[in-house]
């Protein structure tokens, strides 16, 4: 397996303060990597830097083995899918929300209709096709947000705590559905969460981020059963 995404010597500042310093992190093609850590650990900064939505002070991002700098921000972002904590839907119908990124790519109308149809069905929201986004429940809105990202057929999917604002039953259902979709599509995914159960359920590997630094990376059972140090153990509640 080769790394689809690799960050090296990454340092991100916010308000001139370092919030993230990572020597190396690689995401293999087809794997789901969960990045866990408490609030303020730098998880979202890592995700935004990986999406090239936050400019690091220094460091290199490689995509598909090539320096990501070789392509424009737009070209790079059109290879990824991004789902944030809040669905941030546009004030239009469910269909148009899922179609938004496809319109940005100037895809033919028939292809847009086809892809939107496929992903509305896969996310179980076909019946909501024409409903205004403003009239969706939290769980429905996040399903639309996921459909919108999957419809892009991204090489890399970046998920920033997508279920954290949902109630427990909705979260569990969505997590199961997402798990099935990721397994089916083999989409390379970085899944940010502070919920260890979510991470263990969905990821092949877990990276623990504390105070802006990677403290341990490994299979979930390995990380959870053998924390690398006291801080990781404390975070894991061991």
């Amino acid at each position: 397996m080769s790394a689809l995404l690799e960050v090296r010597d990454l340092r991100v500042l916010r308000d001139r303060r370092p919030v993230l310093e990572i020597e190396r992190l690689a995401v293999e093609s087809g794997e789901v990597l969960a990045v866990v850590g408490p609030n303020g650990a730098g998880k979202s900064s890592l995700l935004l830097a990986a999406a090239r939505l936050l400019k690091p002070e220094r460091g290199e991002i490689r995509f598909g083995g090539q320096p990501a700098d070789a392509m424009s921000d737009l070209d790079y972002r059109r290879r990824i899918g991004l789902v944030l904590q809040e669905p941030l839907l546009l004030d239009t119908s469910v269909f148009e929300n899922v179609a938004a990124g496809l319109h940005f790519r100037h895809l033919p109308k028939e292809e847009i209709t086809r892809r939107v149809g496929v992903w509305l069905e896969r996310l179980g929201i076909e019946a909501l096709r024409q409903r205004p986004a403003a009239r969706l429940s939290g769980g429905e809105a996040q399903r639309v947000s996921l459909a919108r990202a999957f419809a892009l057929q991204p090489q890399l999917l970046l998920l920033d705590e997508p279920f954290s604002s949902l109630d427990a039953p909705t979260r569990l259902r969505l997590l199961d559905d997402l798990h099935a979709l990721l397994a089916e599509t083999s989409t390379t995914t970085v899944f940010i969460t502070h919920d260890l159960k979510e991470a263990g359920r969905i990821a092949r590997r877990v990276a623990v981020l504390l105070d802006g630094r990677l403290r341990q990376v490994g299979a979930p059972e390995q990380v959870f059963s053998a924390p690398a140090d006291e801080d990781v153990a404390a975070f894991l509640g061991k």
């Binding site: 935004l48 999406a51 939505l53 921000d73 737009l74 972002r77 059109r78 990824i80 899918g81 991004l82 944030l84 809040e86 941030l88 546009l90 004030d91 239009t92 938004a100 990124g101 940005f104 790519r105 205004p132 919108r148 990202a149 892009l152 970046l158």
Partner: protein, 218 residues
């Protein structure tokens, strides 16, 4: 002055043309500038925002004075021979409406969730696509900005009087005609023109409000 008088319709048409054009130009200026102020982060941004907000309350007579001085025969733009022409009124009204449209555009876009820009970029939007999507998202307050811009110029009298001169068949608009009728003691004519101005303003705002609320219901 009765509604049967052809002067009334000439004056009404000129009012609509002048204020409509001034509003359209204000939109062409205010939409991009307001967007830049809302989305940009650059030195002097707060100063510029304060300037625009101050501009939203510019007294029309002060604008009229400045434009009259600039367009006066001996003024810096005197060679253009624009003083006492409809173009002069359009210039003055644009200066009045542009800060209103700019300020309200900026406020409308700043009210959107700042993470929406990140999400749009994350969906693969170019900068232009991102801005268009934000305008679409803020279309209701942006329509309000348009209404406020038009309202600020269709009803102003000071600047139109000073730079237009209220010349019959040339630069007489509804508001300046009302002033003239009142000065002549022709209160009946002034009231009729006043009602006409109110009806026109109502109809235009009613149409825009209908479009706005139709959008809100969707």
């Amino acid at each position: 002055m009765s509604f049967a008088n052809p002067d009334v319709w000439e004056i009404t048409l000129l009012s609509l043309k002048v204020s409509g054009l001034a509003t359209a130009i204000s939109l062409l200026i205010g939409l991009p500038v307001g967007t830049g102020l809302a989305l940009g982060r650059f030195p002097g941004r707060n100063f510029l925002l304060s300037l625009v907000n101050t501009g939203m309350a510019l007294p029309p007579v002060v604008v009229g004075l400045a434009v009259a001085m600039a367009l006066w025969r001996s003024g810096p733009l005197g060679d253009l021979h624009l003083i006492y022409t409809p173009t002069a009124i359009v210039i003055a009204q644009t200066i009045i409406a542009a800060p209103v449209v700019t300020g309200l555009t900026s406020a409308a876009l700043q009210q959107l969730d700042p993470r929406l820009r990140l999400q749009l970029y994350g969906l693969g939007a170019s900068r232009a696509q991102m801005v268009l999507a934000l305008w679409r998202q803020a279309r209701l307050p942006l329509l309000a900005a348009l209404m406020a811009g038009f309202g600020s110029v269709i009803s102003e009298v000071g600047a139109s009087m000073m730079v237009g001169g209220n010349i019959r068949h040339q630069t007489r608009v509804l508001t300046t005609a009302i002033v003239l009728q009142t000065n002549m003691g022709e209160f009946g004519g002034a009231i009729a023109l006043g009602i006409l101005l109110l009806v026109i303003t109502f109809l235009i705002n009613f149409t825009l409000t209908w479009i706005q609320q139709r959008g809100a219901r969707r």
